[in-house]
Symmetry: C2
Subunit: 266 residues, 2 copies
């Protein structure tokens, strides 16, 4: 009888220990593929609210969701993990792969008039070191112009490696890179230094937003592209992280959308 | 001593049972958010090759990847689970939510000239019962025109519930739905029956591809939308699963992309 009591006591401890373990470590018992696609854990169908962020991000990337101002609070962690994890890099690499394949297949004019338009922030350069700060929270905290400008002035933004690869391919093919950015003209020198430091060292034009450019991003970028076309250039490609880079007038023969779930520029 | 032996024996059974359970059910012990976003399982960093399909699908949905002919073989299971699981439905619901919010905020002419363009396949109606067949494999097996036409002729395609919601909202607001589909004219009756059966019962026009419409999807849909505009209609919204529904001429005041990782129409 005493032995039975000990046995019962021991097995209870094991059972309790197991149960609390499951809860603590968030162990998920589900077939792997299903698990990754279904926003549920466990066979009981417990829903993880944060996984609605998958639909949110898809809506952002396809431009179904427009004029949003902040990353939803419940998606702050999701966006952080996405940006710092491998998936963001993989998604960028996939876009770059398509752009490189497209560029290599182009029949060029050979007259030096073929250009490729590159946006800068979150396209050629990454502000992730800034956006990962706790007072920025991947875009879940309201944009602070003073703070962001201070970061830009440091000139420390790293390249997005895969887009640097697009740039190098484009250059090697004889297509002239043109940077068009919403950054203000007074940051021109610091941007030049930053771009060159990380590997972007050659371009036909670096167009920043002047004092008189007061319209929307679409208007500004459209007008600058139209000037290029009027000057006889052919925009064979156009790559940016915002849809405002890729819509409007003279968008180019083909556009490429780089992922960016951190902010929306209208 | 005998009691200790029993105790040891019992606890071994528990331990072995637990261990084999872990293996059998594919239990993953990792922090939930990291796990879902990083294409790895376990702390050892084992990569799941299939998860490259996340980047592939994003490239499809953003139109970075164009003119693709088949779902990559390694993504067949991924696409299947996505389409049959909750994520596809959630993604559709998210698009529908944006479209409904946009429609409700519109200032309408009140003259009966406001129209909303709906695509049919994979937008208002779902061919998922067909695409889930083993000889179709969610688009991982080459398209078979005869088989697909036989399915269409059955007139059994269900509605996509969330897009039916968009349709009902649009109707209730006094915006006239217009269907423009790449389906051939000889399927007109069966499509009408199918649409009505699942809840789409009212439209200003149902435009199918005629014998003389031999161009690309973009050309066909652009020309039909242009006819609408020339007839004095204002296209306030446009929803489709293919980018060819949403680019070209007179695309409408705003477009909405419904997810579709099963096929690409150029």
């Amino acid at each position: 009888m005493r032995c039975f009591t000990i046995l019962l006591f021991f097995s209870s401890i094991v059972a309790v220990g197991l149960a609390s373990n499951v809860e603590d470590e968030g162990i998920i018992s589900q077939v792997v593929e299903i698990h990754r696609l279904r926003p549920q854990t466990g066979s009981a169908g417990y829903t993880v609210p944060q996984l609605d962020c998958l639909s949110w991000r898809l809506a952002v990337e396809t431009n179904n969701l427009q004029n949003w101002r902040l990353v939803p609070k419940e998606c702050e962690n999701y966006v952080g993990h996405y940006m710092l994890g491998k998936q963001y890099r993989r998604d960028c690499e996939y876009v770059a792969k398509q752009a490189i394949e497209y560029a290599k297949a182009l029949k060029l004019g050979g007259d030096g008039k073929d250009v490729w338009v590159f946006d800068i922030d979150e396209t050629t350069l990454s502000n992730l070191p800034y956006y990962a700060r706790s007072d920025v929270a991947f875009g879940a905290i309201a944009y602070n112009n003073t703070k962001f400008n201070a970061w830009t002035a440091e000139g420390k933004a790293p390249a997005i490696p895969s887009i640097l690869g697009v740039y190098k391919t484009v250059l090697s093919l004889g297509i002239k890179p043109v940077f068009i950015t919403g950054t203000r003209e007074n940051f021109k020198q610091v941007r030049i230094v930053n771009l060159k430091k990380v590997g972007y060292s050659n371009w036909a034009a670096l167009i920043l937003k002047g004092e008189n450019d007061s319209g929307s991003a679409v208007q500004f970028k459209s007008s600058k592209r139209t000037e290029l076309v009027k000057a006889g250039y052919r925009i064979v490609g156009n790559i940016g992280d915002q849809w405002t880079d890729l819509i409007g007038e003279n968008v180019g023969a083909r556009t490429f959308k780089v992922p960016d779930p951190m902010y929306y520029i209208s």
